[in-house]
Amino acid sequence: MGTPAPGRWQKAIVESTTQETRSAKTFRLALTKASPHLAGQHYVVRLTAPDGYTASRSYSIASAPQEPGHIEITVERLADGEVSSYLHDVVVPGDELELRGPIGGWFVWRGATPALLVAGGSGIVPLMAMLRLARRTGRSDLVRLVVSVRRPDELYYADELPGPEACVVYTRETPASSRRPAGHLREQDLRAGLMPNAGLMPNAGLMPNATAYVCGSSGFADHVTGLLERLGVPTGHIRVERFGPSG
């Protein structure tokens, strides 16, 4: 299904910034031209130097679509990232940024069909928009989220995760309360996270006709795609967003 062109560049005012983890910040932005977004879409942020030099990068929208005129983006600070380091180190509330979007018509969830969400690290951002949409519309029954992070202090949106439809898997270090030892995401993690009733109904399948949304590094995406296929998700029902560097 197609989506319209992303429109022209527009100004946005930074309303607030929140330190999400040591290396990630969430920016709440007020748009001058409200344009409704779909969960999973992104915006491009463009910085312009006094001599006309520009640098732009794409950032996924973390917020649900229900607040016209406002979006939140979460940005990981990359060591050599000329845009992410500017956003982290220089931007304060009240600043004006130039934005274009929303963009993307493939890695989107429209809120009405079953969805399996699997995130690696900062890949949670577009999937969080989907989870928040489901929660706000009372359709949490349609989504299951599994997010894999290395350590507890690297989990974004920690006050909203885990939850009844969302579980967190730790690969290197677990919180004290965790019963699962630290380790890479395995088939049984997805089985437990995506099929929470599997213990009661051993023959239960994943939600029929669900679309799987996988977001993370390329290695993570390939690993999860393999696990999902082994769990019986048809290849054609798996949508992948891999990050390249977007510093």
């Binding site: 312009t48 794409s58 000329e82 220089v90 795609t225 560097p245």
Partner: protein, 202 residues
Amino acid sequence: MSFTRGFKGRGLSERDPRLPPGQYDIGSDWPVLTAEPTPELSTSSWTFVVEGLVRHRVTWTWEEIHSLAPDAYEGAIHCVTTWSKFGVHFAGVSVDTLLAAAEPLDSARFVVAWSHTGYTTNLPLEDVTGAKAWVVWEHEGSPLAAAHGGPARLLVPHLYFWKSAKWVAGLRLLDHDEPGFWEVNGYHDRGDPWLEQRYQGD
């Protein structure tokens, strides 16, 4: 033009004139950006087709396409996500060689490239003729990795890299433009990096 408070950007001396506007040099990395799972394609059943508005619909097997005149590209590639990569070397066959065998009709103006995965992308015919486009299976002297489109991908390096369809299966020649996978999702029908044709309407 308005400026971003406190943003200085790279000094003029750091700018590389080979970089199109809004792009940066990613160095030795080569990010993988694909919307689908990476397919495993066997070269024993691999085929490539040129069809549509041509005098002869031609299909090549893996061995047949390797028997055509070899050709290579060395230069830059530009991804719409703003990285560019220089000094990249690919080898395969020129699209000119493939089209010469199929003999395009005068009415052919556009091309849809499609992949074994179902991915599609559209291009003006003149962007894949005149030594500007290749089907490649070798990168830096080694077989092209599956994650980068192997066994073979389209290479149209003067346009943004989403036009260089991974796992390419064929070209269909048309008399009209038919937007492909990313193009119906808001991306530009041509995608010239020097004109920053990133999205529809640019």
